[in-house]
Structure formats: C-alpha cells, structure tokens
C-alpha cells in the first residue's frame, strides 16, 4: 500500500481542469498499488483554500493547503523544496503531476532533488509489481513507448485530457502546511501572468477545437473559426504553425510539433493541409472533421468526416447548422 501525493495545478488563483484529471489518475494509482490515500497539494495566495472542496469531491482524501502571498504566482523553487520534503518523509510511494507547462517545470526539479525517476506525459498506466508501467508518446507523436518506472517515490506526469475528471467524493479534510523554503526568497520570480484570449476556453480545456490554417488566406477570415467556436459554445480556436508564424494568431494558439498537443472530443480543421508537424499535435482527437478545397490534402487521411469544398462557402453554412442544432438540442 502506498500513498499518492498529487500536485493540484492552480493558475491565476483558479484550479485548472487538469488538476481534476490528475486526481482521477492519482486515485487509480492508489487503487492499483493496494489502496493508499491520495493527498492533494493546493498552493496559492490566501483564499486558494476555497478550491479544497473541489479536490475532496474529485477524490482527495486529504488536501495539503499551502496558503501564502509568496504563492500568488507559480513559485517553482519553494514548491520544489516543499514537495521534496513531503516525499522524503517516506509515507508516499508516488507523486503525480499534470504534464502541463507548470507540471513539466516542477516535476523534473523534484525528481532531481530526490534523485528519483520521473515518467513524463503518460496517457495511461498500470502497476506491475514494484514498477509503474505507462504509455508515453515519442518521436513527435508517431511512436508510443512503454516506460517502466521503478524506485520510490516514483514520479509521474499525466497528459492533459488523457483522464476525464470524475466525482469521487470524500469528506473534506484539509491540513494547513508551510513552505519548506522561504517563498519570498526564491531566485526565480514570476512577476506577472498574462492570460491569453480572456473569456475563451483554453485549447487543453475545450471539448471542441476549431483550427484554421493558411487556407483561410488572411487573418480577418479567422472570424469564421471564432463564429463556429461561438456556435458550438464549448470550443477554443487554434491554428497551424504557418498561421502563427505569419502573426495572424498568437504563438500560444499553435497546435503541432512545436506547439500544443491537443486531444479534444471534436477537432474541426479548416483550410489546413495537414503537414505532419500539425498532425503530431492533434491526431489523437476523438473525432476529426476537415474542410479543405484540396481533395488530396493529407488532413483527409486522418479525418473521420471531410468536405472537399471552399471553406468560405462551407463554414458559414456549418455555423448556421450548428446554431440550429444547438437551439433544438
């Protein structure tokens, strides 16, 4: 039996959906290794404790609450010290992180501090004897590697959207903890958070992604993507590298090899040819729709449904049809 320490990601004072996903993974890990407890670390400025109830509802047996002004922004050095100290205590067999920019910054620091193993960005895992065996994309998403992780504590991070948040309520049990290092004395200081397109869903949180490529021909035509996203209501808008390199959309919207990896329930590719660099970032989407004039475009090889027509004719019709379907649904 081994307890699991999981790190609940907070950004700008808000608990991220990936934290609830990681919690589901942590519960599975605890169950697979003999039924240990799941402790969730929740760190932030005073007030962040309001999210403890969501963590208890998602399956945290105990919420370790670290409230301090020094954690108003992500504080990697103080968090590394604090997590390493908890893990050194010996009661945890595993630590679990989200494989996000934050989790992939923090988990290697903790692993190196403890000289222990880290299996990153897992899409699934099981426990076999003393080892965790999990799947991890390599070769730009073209090869799935199975990693065997041994040692204790063993550190894992799980890919966003690989696990679905689920209610698994426990009685709320919160323990206030203190930072193992002065959070105001960190050498690396986050001084500001610049949120992206405020009011819209993040690409990793959105069940539906509308992505536009160079086939849209000009930045102003992205309003077709924005309008289709608005018609769905639960959608985010992404773009190809060609588009972000042109400056039509911000770099943070780029999906693909050098950008974001996404796997939404529905991915609608508009005017995207489907270069392998782009496919690497979206091929694990559940359902893919492609709209492109060029019937030989490689995007149609991965699309479940394709329309080989002019985006400027097809997309407005699709916007109206989705609006109608939503109104009836």
């Amino acid at each position: 039996m081994a307890n699991v320490l999981m790190f609940a990601e907070v950004r700008g004072g808000e608990l991220r959906k990936v934290a609830l996903e990681a919690l589901v993974a942590a519960r599975r890990l605890a169950a697979a290794s003999g039924g240990g407890a799941v402790h969730a670390v929740l760190a932030g400025a005073p007030g962040v404790g309001a999210h403890a109830a969501a963590l208890a509802n998602g399956g945290a047996d105990q919420v370790l609450l670290l409230e301090h002004d020094g954690f108003a922004h992500y504080n990697p050095e103080a968090l590394t010290a604090t997590l390493a100290e908890r893990l050194r205590g010996g009661s945890y067999g595993y630590a679990l992180f989200s494989a996000t920019a934050q989790g992939r910054d923090l988990s290697p620091r903790v692993a190196a501090r403890l000289r222990t193993g880290l299996a990153p960005d897992l899409t699934g895992f099981r426990v076999e004897g003393d080892a965790v065996v999990g799947e991890h994309f390599t070769m730009n998403g073209k090869v799935v590697a199975t990693l065997a992780l041994s040692g204790s504590p063993a550190l894992l991070s799980v890919r966003p959207a690989a696990f679905q948040p689920a209610a698994d309520p426990r009685p709320l049990a919160t323990e206030a903890i203190t930072s193992a290092a002065d959070p105001m004395a960190s050498r690396v200081k986050v001084t500001a958070l610049r949120q992206g397109n405020s009011g819209t869903l993040d690409l990793n949180d959105a069940p539906v992604i509308i992505a536009g490529g160079r086939g849209l021909k000009a930045p102003e035509h992205f309003r077709l993507c924005d309008e289709l996203a608005a018609a769905f209501g639960n959608a985010a808008v992404g773009a190809t590298r060609a588009v972000t390199d042109e400056g039509w959309r911000p770099h943070s919207d780029q999906i693909g090899q050098t950008g974001r990896n996404v796997s939404p329930t529905l991915y609608v590719a508009i005017g995207i040819s489907g270069a392998i660099q782009h496919l690497a970032g979206m091929r694990t989407s559940k359902t893919i729709v492609a709209i492109n004039k060029d019937k030989d475009a490689p995007i149609f090889k991965v699309a479940d449904y394709g329309i080989t027509g002019d985006a400027f004719e097809v997309v407005p019709a699709l916007i109206e049809a989705v609006k109608q379907a939503k109104a009836q649904g």
């Binding site: 950004r11 050095e77 996000t100 920019a101 910054d105 290697p108 620091r109 692993a111 190196a112 501090r113 000289r115 222990t116 193993g117 880290l118 960005d121 065996v133 390599t138 070769m139 730009n140 073209k142 090869v143 799935v144 590697a145 199975t146 990693l147 992780l149 690396v188 200081k189 986050v190 001084t191 500001a192 958070l193 610049r194 993040d202 690409l203 990793n204 769905f232 770099h251 943070s252 050098t258 529905l266 392998i276 694990t284 559940k286 359902t287 492609a290 149609f300 090889k301 699309a303 479940d304 449904y305 394709g306 329309i307 080989t308 004719e313 097809v314 699709l318 049809a321 989705v322 379907a325």
Partner: protein
C-alpha cells in the same frame, strides 16, 4: 558571457518509423538525423546573446550521444558556436535523470553564465533534462522561454503556458529552456561550415547516472480508420451535422 548549449541529435521526423527487432525502440536503419528543432533555437539565442555583448566570451555546444552526433555539434559550430564537447555513449538512455547527471557532471564548475536547452527533445519527448540539470547544479531555472532579455547579471523572460504566459525574473548564472517563438535559427554559412571543421571538438565518455526509467516497448499507434468524404460543397453540411449528432455523438 560564457554560454553552454546542450543539443541533441534526433531523427528527422518526416520518416516512416518502424520498430526494431527487439520491440523496444525504433529501427534506425535509413533514418536521417539533425539537431532537435528547439535546440537550434537555443543555439541561436546563445549566439545572439554573445553578439549583443560585443562578441565577448564563448558559446560551447554540448551533446550526449553516439559518435555520429559529432555531425550535429559541427553544425552548431558552423552556426557560430566556438567549440563543442561530445559526451559519448552508444545511445542516450530513456531516463532523463541519467542524462542530466552526465551533463551536470560536465557542466559543474565551468563558470557558465547561462546553460541553454531546447524546451523538449522531439524524439524522447521527455522535456525534463534542462530543469533536472539546473537542480543538480543548484542553479535558477526558467523553462519554456519565448521572450528573453539579459543585462547586468540578471534576466527577464516570458514563459509560454497553455494559452497564457508568465513574466519571470532570474539572476545569472541560470539554466533556461528555449521554446518556439523566441527566434528563427540562422543557416550555417559556407564560411561558417569551413571554420567549423577547424574548431575544437572534445570527445569523452558520458558519466551516465543510474536509470530509474526504462523503455520496455515501442509500438506504432493504430492508424486512424479511413474517413469519409461527405461532399464538395455546403450541400454536405446537413449530412455532416447529422453524423456529428448520431454517429460521433459530439453535437
């Protein structure tokens, strides 16, 4: 400025991969190799910093890998790095910590102002070596750097997050991992390629750390079943919406 840039030799990803006979890794027969994309942007960042400081100091490219990785180190020198070090091993292990320990052993006590990495190696997709090396060396670390300014022994960077960015300050010396969007790498000039042949390239065995992670299997993901073309105009939209509702159940 004395800057180390850690780079990796990776397969060119346009390849059609096959799995090797032992079932644990890709078959390397016929693969082409290049410097990892993100590492090219790290090299470029180092060269720009050196140039902005009146070309004072040096840029040293370091790679852990097989003898063949000398080719990638020569490319870094052709771009402008002053010298290179190969930490030689048959094949980089799957465990990022084992690699980080070898790199940290080489970098320790080197008097570096900055140690740069690419954000992620697109072959292993581990994305951990940079912050691990920082931790082993006790240095401040900023990952996913997409904007950077360095002056007077300190730096300010922007870290790319999912759909957002953080502004981060840090003192030198520091370890940074470079993300897409910071710069575009320069192409080696003919003069650079000629000069690179004469620049020093040290080869020494990699002092790999103990491994806690092993790659026990490699497999190609299942191909997506061939999709359907519903039509070539807006007339296909009603059928698309019907399928999204009844078959894919996503609308």
């Amino acid at each position: 400025m004395k800057i180390a840039v850690c780079i990796k030799r990776v397969p060119v990803m346009e390849a059609k991969f096959a799995i090797a006979g032992d079932g644990t890794r890709v078959d390397e027969t016929g693969l082409k190799w290049d410097v990892n994309d993100f590492d090219l942007w790290a090299i470029e960042a180092a060269l720009q910093l050196k140039e902005a400081n009146g070309n004072q100091g040096e840029v040293v490219a370091i790679s852990l890998g097989p003898d063949a990785a000398q080719e990638q180190l020569r490319k870094a020198m052709a771009m402008g790095a002053d010298r290179a070090i190969l930490l030689q091993c048959d094949r980089p292990p799957a465990d990022g910590l084992a690699v980080a320990e070898a790199l940290a052993a080489e970098l320790a006590g080197g008097g570096w102002d900055l140690v740069l990495f690419g954000r992620i190696a697109i072959d292993s997709m581990n994305q951990m070596t940079g912050p691990m090396v920082a931790e082993l060396l006790g240095l401040p670390c900023v990952t996913n750097v997409c904007k950077l300014a360095v002056a007077n022994g300190a730096g300010e960077a922007e870290r790319a997050l999912e759909g957002a960015a953080e502004v981060v300050t840090f003192p030198l010396p520091a370890v940074l991992t470079i993300d897409d969007g910071l710069n575009k790498e320069r192409l080696p000039s003919l003069k650079g390629i000629m000069a690179a042949k004469k620049k020093p390239l040290d080869v020494k065995p990699a002092a790999l750390g103990a491994a806690h992670v092993a790659q026990v299997k490699a497999a190609l993901p299942p191909e997506r079943a061939a999709g359907r073309i519903l039509g070539d105009s807006a007339a296909a939209v009603p059928e698309l919406v019907r399928l999204l509702q009844t078959e894919a159940k996503v609308l």
